[in-house]
């Protein structure tokens, strides 16, 4: 491979024309040109932040495809890898990755269009665990999104579910940061009244409804702005009953419940 010593200095500049023609013939006959063009197109489509890793994975996948066995598991791994390439906030690139992963998983079906229910559910579970979510945190969300094993999942439903899981993982991470901010000291749990005030503010923001998306986003942002949160905490602080606290897990569970309440049940 690349570790091998080279027999001599590269003399491509002075190679004979017949040598060049033989090389050209070899490249086209063995499919190298098409192979590399395909790899480049895929790379440019998703604009990976780690292009060398992307190419290694891409060729490894193609190489594995030529071998028999384990096709479904390999497709699942590759689909998850595709989904991990882009953050959901990069919506165009993210949608592209979702489409590719959907096509990969669809190929596992016996000719039926769409992703099988069992594989779809497995994908969502893996997505949540890879996003750093514990099983107990993600279970209520998955119950709303999952399908029965025998069902076939259309693309739009798949995309919505994948996006929901990705956003949820981000949301939980930010909730953990929010709890750390409320607690203010890492060794001490936060006061319950302060936590409740912050959760109430969060709930108000999540419940922002009606109107076009842009207006809703702006209104929700205003409701959860630092000033609003600080105001809620200040009001709560004046009514503090000393000693009663809320631990990080309880806060996370409560925040998760607020999010999950907004997710429509599938089927």
């Amino acid at each position: 491979m690349s570790e091998k010593r080279r027999a001599g200095v590269l003399v491509s500049g002075s190679s004979s024309s017949s040598g060049c023609e033989a090389d050209q013939e070899f490249v086209s006959r063995s499919g190298v040109s098409a192979l590399l063009a395909g790899a480049l197109l895929r790379l440019l489509d998703c604009r990976s932040g780690d292009p060398l890793g992307f190419l290694a994975e891409h060729f490894a996948h193609l190489s594995a495809e030529a071998e028999e066995g384990g096709a479904e598991q390999r497709s699942l791994s590759r689909a998850l890898w595709m989904l991990s390439l882009q953050h959901h906030s990069q919506r165009s690139a993210f949608n592209s990755s979702v489409r590719v992963s959907y096509d990969l998983l669809s190929q596992c079906g016996a000719g039926v269009g769409g992703v099988g229910g069992r594989l779809y559910t497995e994908t969502l579970q893996s997505l949540c665990s890879e996003g750093g979510l514990s099983a107990s945190t993600s279970a209520p969300l998955l119950r709303r999104l999952q399908c029965r094993e025998h069902e076939t999942v259309p693309f739009e439903l798949y995309r919505q579910a994948v996006l929901t899981c990705s956003v949820f993982a981000d949301y939980i991470r930010k909730s953990q940061c929010l709890y750390a901010a409320v607690a203010s000291a890492p060794d001490r749990p936060a006061q319950r009244t302060l936590c409740c005030a912050v959760l109430e503010t969060l709930k108000e923001a999540l419940e922002t409804a009606d109107g076009p998306d842009t207006a809703r986003y702006l209104e929700a942002s205003a409701k959860i702005s630092p000033a609003k949160v600080a105001q809620a905490m200040a009001e709560a602080h004046s009514q503090t009953r000393d000693g009663e606290t809320m631990d990080a897990q309880e806060f996370e569970d409560a925040a998760a419940a607020l999010f999950i309440a907004r997710v429509r049940t599938v089927t």
């Binding site: 491979m1 570790e3 063995s30 590399l36 060398l52 690139a93």
Partner: protein, 331 residues
């Protein structure tokens, strides 16, 4: 994974150029064409998978020609990292080596590695005193890193430094008069010691100007200012030594651990111990190791300082001791 989202704003050509993708694709095809029969049997797709996996892992630079190793920042970083992995044991044993010996070690990994670069590295470690002084592994490798990773930058600031020494400031147009020439000459003669090196502030301004238009890699200007703000005058090799010792610059390159961790590598240590035990059991056998360990075994063999240690019969010294040795030899 990296969350730098600027790549979505780049054109196709800009994105490919920034990541050197086409360079590696070209090299992969060139290698493939040089070994058509072998790789056709191996499988063309599998070949590309292994090529890019090795590039990703950084071991693609082993035994390649120098022009390939220096072609991309990733290659330079990978080579520095592999050199450290292979020969870290020298530092651990406290061996001091001469310039020619370090050159030989580098050529074990890269057959045409130029001796000139090792000489330039030695000048940094020994502050331009090009004798046969011995150097500790840690002194050598951090200086080598600066010389090799930032080769173009070092060349450019060397030219700036020489200009400043000869009285020219690249940022300023000076119209000399006969009077000022005489004064400069007189001043230089009167105070030779005070004139050692160049003015740090001016040197810093010139370097900043260079960095604004430089198209190769260069150390962060924040680090450069940190170094030059602490001194009024600076010598060229003193400056390079400061770059070599700067932790922030080392972290930016990302090839080597910080100095306290330079000699620590649990994984490699375990592998070495296993190999030593194996050699002790059956010293003439080379076929006992598994295929996955074969590459590492080869690297470890090259890394082994035991033979050279016996031949040279050197006293083992701590890294700090070697530094003192270097200092005393300068006196």
């Amino acid at each position: 994974m990296k969350m730098n989202t600027e790549r979505f704003n780049l054109t196709v050509d800009e994105y490919l150029a920034e990541t050197n993708v086409l360079f590696y694709l070209n090299d992969a095809v060139t290698q493939l064409l040089e070994h058509k029969e072998e790789y056709t049997q191996f499988g063309v797709v599998r070949y590309f998978a292994e090529y890019f996996t090795s590039v990703k892992n950084g071991n693609h630079v082993l035994f390649r020609e120098f022009s390939y190793i220096k072609a991309t920042p990733h290659n330079r970083e990978s080579f520095i990292h592999i050199f450290w992995k292979c020969f870290r044991q020298i530092g651990k044993n406290g061996d001091l080596l001469a310039m020619s010996e370090y050159s030989s070690l580098l050529q074990l990994l890269c057959p045409d590695f130029p001796a000139e670069m090792v000489q330039n590295t030695a000048r940094i470690v020994l502050i331009d005193d090009v004798t046969d002084c011995l150097m500790s592994f840690s002194d050598f490798i951090y200086s080598f890193q600066i010389q090799f990773f930032y080769e173009e930058f070092v060349e450019s600031i060397s030219a700036i430094y020489q200009d400043l020494l000869s009285g020219k400031n690249p940022n300023t147009v000076i119209v000399p008069t006969s009077t000022s020439v005489e004064q400069l000459s007189s001043s230089a003669n009167d105070k030779p010691d005070v004139q050692e090196g160049v003015d740090a502030t001016i040197f810093c301004e010139c370097i900043e100007g260079l960095c604004e238009r430089f198209k190769h890699k260069y150390p962060s200007t924040v680090a450069i200012k940190e170094i030059l703000d602490n001194t009024q005058r600076v010598s060229f090799y003193g400056f390079l030594m400061a770059l070599a010792k700067h932790e922030g610059i080392n972290q930016d390159i990302g090839a080597l651990p910080n100095k306290p961790d330079l000699l620590i590598d649990p994984e490699m240590d375990q592998e070495l111990e296993r190999l030593i035990a194996q050699v002790a059991i059956s010293p003439t056998s080379n076929n006992n190791s598994s295929s996955s360990a074969l590459g590492q075994k080869e690297m470890s063999k090259k890394a082994s300082p035991r033979k050279s240690l016996h031949q040279r019969k050197r006293i083992e010294m701590e890294s700090d001791g070697s530094t003192e040795e270097t200092d005393s030899s300068e006196n």
